[in-house]
């Protein structure tokens, strides 16, 4: 094959790699892959099963699942209606509300934890009232951990849902109306099924974020095995004394994150 033809056929297939980009791209891959390789390389595969069965690890795992799923439930209950309003209703201050919803995404989690303390701590703005009126305090409780995780994870759900709702062709709802469907029926049988892919993607992201949450949890909810010591906290503490346990826990978190990515691959990496 002549050079010219090779060049031509390569560009047909999608282009030769511009040499200028190859090196930085390779560094990027290395940057992302090496830490993961390091984790896998240092895993004590032999004693892994034993590590994973220790009470501490199982406790942290159970708590993480309970809290992250609780955070997802809170996020769905509050976030989906919010997404609807943001997508469909032009209310005064909508842009402000949208900015507010995305704030936890850019806020450093520890800052989020501090903010939660100032709001819902025993002396907090809302926390005081909760304590006086209902005797409810949130710090140091599992509910507090769920709140902290919901705080950082809900924005992912809201943003994804809102995007899905906006992308939907609203004329399907018109069609449903002409067929006699009231608003609730339309929502149930047309709108929600049509935005279901976005909804699931949002839930997956929300769950993954909640599962990995550390800074806000340790600052606001505290750290007590069985009550508030979720897996990320357990990893952090184990790191200081028991590296093997830390690695085992990290591996679990890594596996879950990978599973979420695989489940979402069609959404994030659509293949033509």
């Amino acid at each position: 094959m002549t050079d010219a033809r090779r060049r031509a056929s390569a560009s047909q297939r999608g282009g030769r790699a511009p040499v200028l980009f190859v090196v930085p791209a390779a560094v990027a891959v290395g940057f992302l892959a090496v830490p993961l390789a390091g984790l896998l390389g240092r895993t004590p595969w032999g004693s892994l099963a034993a590590e994973l069965a220790t009470p501490r690890v199982l406790e942290a795992l159970r708590l993480s699942l309970v809290c992250s799923l609780g955070a997802v439930a809170v996020s769905v209950a509050l976030g989906v209606p919010l997404a609807f309003l943001l997508a469909r209703v032009d209310f005064p201050g909508r842009n402000l509300v949208r900015a507010l919803t995305t704030l936890p995404m850019v806020l450093p989690p520890v800052v989020g934890g501090v903010a939660l303390l100032l709001a819902f701590g025993r002396r907090g703005v809302a926390g005081q009232w909760l304590d006086r009126a209902f005797g409810i305090t949130l710090p140091f409780t599992t509910a507090g951990a769920i709140l902290a995780e919901a705080f950082v994870a809900m924005p992912f759900l809201v943003i994804t849902c809102e995007a899905g709702l906006r992308a939907m062709d609203r004329r399907f709802e018109d069609a449903a109306a002409t067929l006699g469907a009231g608003r609730w029926t339309t929502l149930r049988r047309v709108t929600l099924p049509l935005v279901a892919p976005s909804l699931w993607a949002g839930i997956a992201l929300c769950w993954a974020r909640a599962l990995g949450e550390f800074g806000a949890t340790i600052t606001f909810a505290g750290n007590l095995p069985g009550v508030t010591q979720t897996m990320p906290l357990a990893v952090y503490l184990a790191l200081e004394t028991d590296l093997e346990a830390a690695i085992a826990l990290s591996l679990i978190l890594l596996a879950i994150s990978a599973a979420v990515l695989v489940a979402l691959r069609d959404r994030w990496f659509p293949t033509a």
Partner: protein, 259 residues
């Protein structure tokens, strides 16, 4: 297979392998820190105030050599040193954590001791008189985590006093315990006497009887892998000197136990 694609894959693989090769070695060797112009001191959280005062004094007396501190729970610092973190000096709140790194440091010397105290909010709103009160299930008590020196000391104290406490949280360094109490989130905690002093007007202390209290011993050592060993030794000497002892004393530390 198209030549350009194999070439690309080969380059990516090569770079990835190179970077992996450059990765850390795992036996805690690591490279030391600090050009002779600067040294890094890893010190237990309870030493924060005292060492922050000693730092500038050291710089002034040692031809401008800067000191940067890494304050954290001693257990965290020990692990970091094991993993090869660049430290020149290590000051621990207990001998156990110093023993953890005994192969990596020079001869440790005890330079101070500390007693523990119950810390409560200013004004003692819950009227806590002693260790027995901490067993009250309605009280929110925060302790340092069991692996943190302060946590281990607290467990020992509670054991001696025969009191069972269910903490609502286990913080990973002793300063965090003080924070939770001063914020009003927790009602009480067990910390060092020096922490209560450092906590200023927000907290006050309730004494623990001498027969139940524990004397925390603080060893200090230079790190072998340091490349500023002279300066490291100089810092260690300052801490143990009368001047250093005076500063420590000011913050509530007691002299090293004579035994």
């Amino acid at each position: 297979m198209p030549r350009s694609r194999t070439r690309l894959a080969a380059v990516l693989a090569a770079v990835a392998l190179t970077l992996a090769g450059c990765g850390g070695n795992d036996s805690g060797g690591g490279s030391g820190a600090g050009s002779p112009e600067e040294i890094k001191v890893f010190a237990a959280a309870s030493l924060t105030a005292a060492f922050n005062e000693l730092g500038p004094r050291f710089t002034a007396a040692n031809g401008g050599t800067k000191v940067t501190f890494n304050f954290a729970g001693s257990q965290a610092l020990a692990t970091q040193i094991q993993q090869g973190a660049p430290a020149d000096v290590f000051a621990s709140a207990d001998t156990a954590n110093m023993d953890k790194v005994e192969d990596l440091v020079g001869d440790p010397q005890v330079f101070a001791s500390n007693l523990l105290q119950i810390v409560v909010e200013q004004g003692n709103p819950k009227a806590i008189q002693g260790l027995d009160d901490l067993a009250d299930p309605d009280l929110k008590v925060v302790l340092a985590a069991p692996d943190v020196p302060a946590g281990r000391y607290a467990a020992e104290i509670l054991g001696r006093a025969n009191v069972t406490v269910k903490p609502v949280s286990q913080e990973d360094n002793v300063k965090a315990v003080v924070t939770k109490v001063s914020l009003g989130e927790a009602d009480a905690g067990i910390v060092y006497v020096t922490d209560v002093t450092a906590g200023g007007g927000k907290v006050e202390g309730v004494d623990i009887p001498e027969d139940q209290n524990v004397v925390a011993t603080y060893p200090i050592a230079t790190v072998k892998a340091s490349n500023a060993v002279e300066q490291a030794q100089a810092f260690m000497d300052l801490v143990r000197s009368p001047e250093g002892q005076q500063v420590l004393n000011k913050y509530g530390f007691l002299p090293p136990p004579t035994s």
